[in-house]
Symmetry: C2
Subunit: 198 residues, 2 copies
């Protein structure tokens, strides 16, 4: 990696918490300069626009967040237990990037505009949902998950309830809502999703 | 109501969609002037600051949104059916104020700062949760809801999953996630919340 590319990556890494905490409009050039230690020209030599920097900062923040949520899932052999670990990771492995979940933040921040960032958030959502759908399909095939389960609906339910609970928890500075969702989903997985052994 | 107070209410009513769609930092004075048809001085004669206007616009937007969600609930006599109606209202009665749910938007927008708006969002969340807790307690008392149900946890679950689903739906321009959550909660209410008649 050349020196220019190293600087570029460093700017993305340092800009990511700014955009994640303050939103696109709230992230001022002065904040970005302070975080990176660079002048305006030093930042925008590497990016076409604020939007391009925000988009790459989002992708970086999302990779870190998704990584924290799924990094250890392959080690869990049973697919229902893998879903439970995913839920536990959502609850316990927050804060990969300061400011909360980049998907929630960017989706809410851009749902009435900023189509570039909005598309990145959609892609992130689709990636996470596809991952969960694959786990569920593997579970149905392995006769661990009931064949009647609609994989996409269950994936949407899991993501909706956890992302909504992140909003409540950040607003209240408490993890009660995430714990309530985790308890509910775990119990639901056992009662309605797991295919009983024959 | 005097003419000054009428103008003040009109400004709040017209500013609410701007703040709800664009967020606090994204709501420019030019947007507010355009929406109200007033000059800067005409707006700020009635408000101490942008933050004060945003706070009153949030309260107005939240009252409209909460009203749409709970306006017909008193007519539903059975408390479990009342919870189901509340969930259905979340799904069907969106868009009281353009820009999606003011609670979700303002919570995410202010969770890393803007303590005035953040307190308004917390108060809104607590009001909604208290309302649901009261319904559940009434249901337990009336022997319609199982006494083992933890009212606050169930209320947090309902709010988390619906608010998260609103995020997904707005990002995807589809109501699939809200429908998935509604189906799940309805089924959960019947199987695990409703106290079977003796």
């Amino acid at each position: 990696m050349g020196k220019g590319e190293q600087t570029r990556q460093e700017i993305i890494r340092k800009a990511a918490p700014i955009f994640n905490q303050r939103g696109y409009d709230g992230a001022a050039l002065s904040d970005l300069m302070k975080a990176t230690g660079l002048e305006k020209g030093g930042i925008y030599r590497h990016f076409e626009s604020k939007q391009q920097l925000a988009a790459e900062a989002f992708d970086y923040a999302w990779q870190e967040t998704l990584g924290a949520r799924i990094h250890d899932l392959d080690a869990v052999l049973n697919t229902v237990d893998r879903l439970k670990r995913l839920v536990a990771n959502f609850v316990e492995r927050r804060g990969a990037i300061p400011g909360g979940c980049p998907l929630l933040n960017t989706a809410v921040d851009t749902d009435d505009g900023n189509s570039v960032l909005r598309l990145r958030a959609r892609k992130a959502l689709h990636g996470l949902r596809s991952y969960i759908v694959l786990v569920i399909h593997a579970g149905i095939k392995a006769q661990e998950i009931r064949p009647s389960i609609d994989a996409k609906k269950l994936a949407s339910l899991i993501i909706s309830s956890l992302e909504g609970a992140i909003m409540l928890c950040r607003l209240e500075r408490s993890d009660e809502a995430l714990r309530a969702v985790e308890t509910h989903l775990d119990s639901y997985f056992e009662r309605e999703v797991r295919l009983p052994a024959k």
